[in-house]
């Protein structure tokens, strides 16, 4: 938690991206989360990813529900419109926003309570509807904002700070997303920026519902021994299936890898993700295999991270609805209003 005002001074040699923007241009208000909260690292990864992708911040719409995690959109991309909606209902608001203007990038930020408890239904339906979005759940296994009750992603047997054990089975949102037809599914860890940043970049470039379950320890309520969402626990049980490099469509691929060790994944906009396989024979395009792999490792107590699944030729909600190319919010009277002559015909048919 830092309440210090940001220094106005900018170093002349400060790094700029293709748009001539600096990292500062991707920042938001100063975070009011607890110092060390995993969520702040996710915000920072989002800023990094957008900077590196040379995205104009105002062309991103950031939407969230309610929770500590859902507060974070205030803390990044200050020049983007944001919407802190109601608890668990970000997916429907994002769906509507996306319907109105297909040309913006939609970034939904949610928590495990927001998406796996109160908003489980909306999470599921936005994904199955094929909404083109990046959907990040900052998953800490508890309700941070209401002071640390278990959420629906808390593992069975995990304990609260004061010792109470969780009696219920957890919901694995990655597994759910796979079942629901998400065309990009990943899990990451807020403590692993090297993995998270390229994942976010790839998710942004992906067309269709891109879901990232990001384990993000709550230092105030769920970072103790007995928690399965603590920094230590996740580090000890992290089982990455691959390591990613995101390569923009402009950059040449330089590094050489031994055959079979690397898989190139083409994204919608022509850019590529270079996957260095870690799990042998793991095919990132095989949904069924991904589900099997996750289940096996789950039983073994391992947390699978990395790009779990990506569809090769994904479509999105607008393709399904066959909407015009012009965003609906830019259609004017001439496009939308049939006029008096058309109405006269309708009147005539009703006599």
């Amino acid at each position: 938690m830092t309440y210090l005002p940001k220094p106005k001074f900018r170093h002349p040699a400060i790094e700029k991206n293709e748009l001539g923007l600096t990292h500062r241009d991707y920042e938001g208000a100063i975070s009011t989360l607890c110092a060390g909260c995993g969520h702040d690292s996710i915000s920072s990864a989002i800023m990094h990813a957008c900077f590196e992708l040379d995205l104009p911040p105002h062309r991103i719409a950031k939407l969230s529900g309610i929770g500590c995690s859902s507060k974070t959109p205030t803390y990044f991309l200050g020049n983007a419109h944001g919407f802190n909606s109601v608890h668990g209902r970000m997916p429907s608001v994002l769906t509507g926003a996306n319907l109105a203007n297909k040309d913006l990038i939609y970034l939904g930020v949610s928590g495990d309570g927001d998406s796996a408890s109160i908003g489980f239904g909306q999470f599921a339906h936005a994904i199955r509807r094929g909404v083109n979005m990046v959907y990040i759940v900052a998953n800490n296994g508890v309700y941070g904002l209401t002071k640390g009750q278990f959420s629906a992603t808390a593992d069975k047997g995990a304990t609260l700070k004061k010792g109470a054990a969780n009696p219920d089975d957890p919901i694995d949102l990655v597994m759910m997303a796979l079942h629901l037809g998400a065309s990009f599914v990943a899990r990451s860890f807020s403590g692993d920026k090297g993995q998270l940043v390229p994942l976010i970049k790839a998710a942004v470039e992906h067309k269709g519902p891109a879901f990232i379950d990001c384990i993000s320890p709550c230092v105030a309520f769920n970072n103790h021994d007995g928690s399965t969402k603590s920094f230590d626990y996740v580090r000890a049980h992290n089982e990455a299936v691959n390591a990613l490099d995101f390569i923009s469509e402009r950059a040449p691929i330089t590094t050489d890898y031994a055959p079979g060790e690397m898989q190139l994944v083409k994204l919608h906009d022509g850019s590529t993700i270079r996957l260095r396989k870690i799990g042998a024979d793991y095919d990132v395009h095989d949904r069924v295999a991904a589900i099997n792999y996750l289940m096996k490792h789950d039983v073994a107590g391992e947390i699978v991270t990395g790009l779990v699944y990506v569809e090769e030729d994904p479509g999105d909600m607008h393709d399904r609805l066959q909407t015009v190319d012009t965003p609906l919010n830019q259609l004017g009277d001439a496009d939308l209003i049939p006029g008096a002559a058309a109405l006269a015909k309708i009147n005539a048919s009703l006599r």
Binding site: P57, H58, V86, R89, P91, A100, L321, D325, L331
Partner: protein
Amino acid sequence: MPIESVNDFVVRFANVNGSGSASANLMFARAVIRMGVPVATRNIFPSNIQGLPTWFEVRVSGEGWLGARGGTDLMVAMNPQTWDKDVASIEHGGYLFYDCSRPIPASKFREDLTVIGVPLTEICNREYAEPRQRQLMKNIMCLGALAAVLDMDADIVKTLLSEQFKGKDRLIEANHRALAIGRDWALANLTCPIGLRVNKSDGVGDRIYVEGNAAASLGAVFGGATVCAWYPLTPSTSLAEGFTSYCKRLRGDATTGKNKYAIVQCEDELASIGVVIGAGWNGSRAFTATSGPGISLMQEFLGLAYFAEIPAVLFNVQRGGPSTGMPTRTQQSDVLACAYASHGDTKHILLFPRDPGEAFEFGALSFDLADRLQTPVFVMLDLEIGMNSHLTAPFKWDDSRRMDRGKVMTYADLESGRDFGRYLDVDGDGVPFRTYPGTHPTRGSFFTRGTTRDAYARYTEEGGPYVENMQRLLRKFETAKAHVPAPLVDAAPGGARFGVIHYGSTAAPMEEATQILRNQGVKLDVMRVRGFPFAKPVEDFISAHDKVFVVEQNRDAQLRTLLMAENCASGDKLVPVLHYDGSPVTARFIARAIAELAESIDARAKEGALS
């Protein structure tokens, strides 16, 4: 004595659901309309009786009364299951039309009725081999026989059949034949016409005959709606379906065939309103269609839309409550639930269309209001308006009209350095400027949240800015008074001590009741309220009268409560007249209630004067 009446009677068709009778019934009504005689029609379809009986009522009214009258003069009794009740419900001296193919014991009839038996099934079985055809042709045959006994113009029915099956010559021919068989049989075997007759007239004019839900959905098309999010719920479902079919016809891109609209059938009403709010936030005109149970589910979101000032349109096709209660019956019982929907201090804009004509007009207008005032707008239909076809003035559109998108700052505005504060009251009308996401790289972005922010949308939990904002929202609500449709007054010649306030679907029976009462010497000034917040004329109307009867279709006198809560009048001035059994209120009911109340008020006044 059998009832004798030309162009003024009620026919009720008692049918079995799914027998294909609906289209034949509708054709009967349209044939009367084509003869220039106004009709008022309604479907009665209880959802809780096995076998699903349905009724279709046609009030033939040469004088043009469009409300329900009550009572039945001619029963077309095609459903054995409801026979007893149907027969019992016929007015004294009325008529009973039935299929006499199978004998029915004499005890099942009434002596005062004129019984018209036509062996429809028998003729059909003789004429047609295929079961489905038998059923469908039976309905047309029945229509032919009815046309004969009511002295209707058979050519008009023939024309309607030709129009309905346009391009399918074989079907036209088959239907014409069935019609002729029924008619010929009746002419040969019955006394035609009976005491009830339809005579050609010119009472319909250029009016159209259309369902309120269809009209409202067309209003949404003309209002520029591009996003519809909904969840099926009787009696609102046909509104979303209407939007779908009108969009298919009117909103395809001429060159690509792609859609200039998006319709999402959501997982529930929470999602529906969420989608509408998201789309409205992002600059699309969006709406949902629902009914009371859906409104209940949307409460949390409606508060957010109110405080975050996001345009949204909701068509509420009201029915009785609760979720399983009276889903197929009409009521005006969501007035308060909508006016003050959600938690915290909220107030919403309501529009009260009287019929499909206004459902279209207000449907289109609601999108301008939502944008102009940046808030949810409720179009308060009910089942009576929404799911029945009504005669109404033809839809009108002025091609010079443009969508009023309200106060939106553009790239150029922002670039020019104009000060932008999302919740800043720059014009003193309480309505701030907004920007659409993605407008400008460095100016005009803001973070949308409920109320914990200042006029520039910066986070704050301070009490001062909160109160300021709440006061501004009240100013905005004041502004709204000039934007909602103004009330209409039908003043008694020479003035009156008593007033009436009514709204929505009560209008048609109220007009008739006013006439009845004035004929009886009860003088009334009648005001139809068409929008909330109530404008000054509503308050003035109430103060200009000793007593005002507030006629509505709910138990708790909800509009009366709203009038009191909004300081338009005190309770002792407002006398409730309430009808809420789920059937549409009738002129007879209103006239009787007001006559009695007026008499007792007068009597009490006299007593007071004596003592």
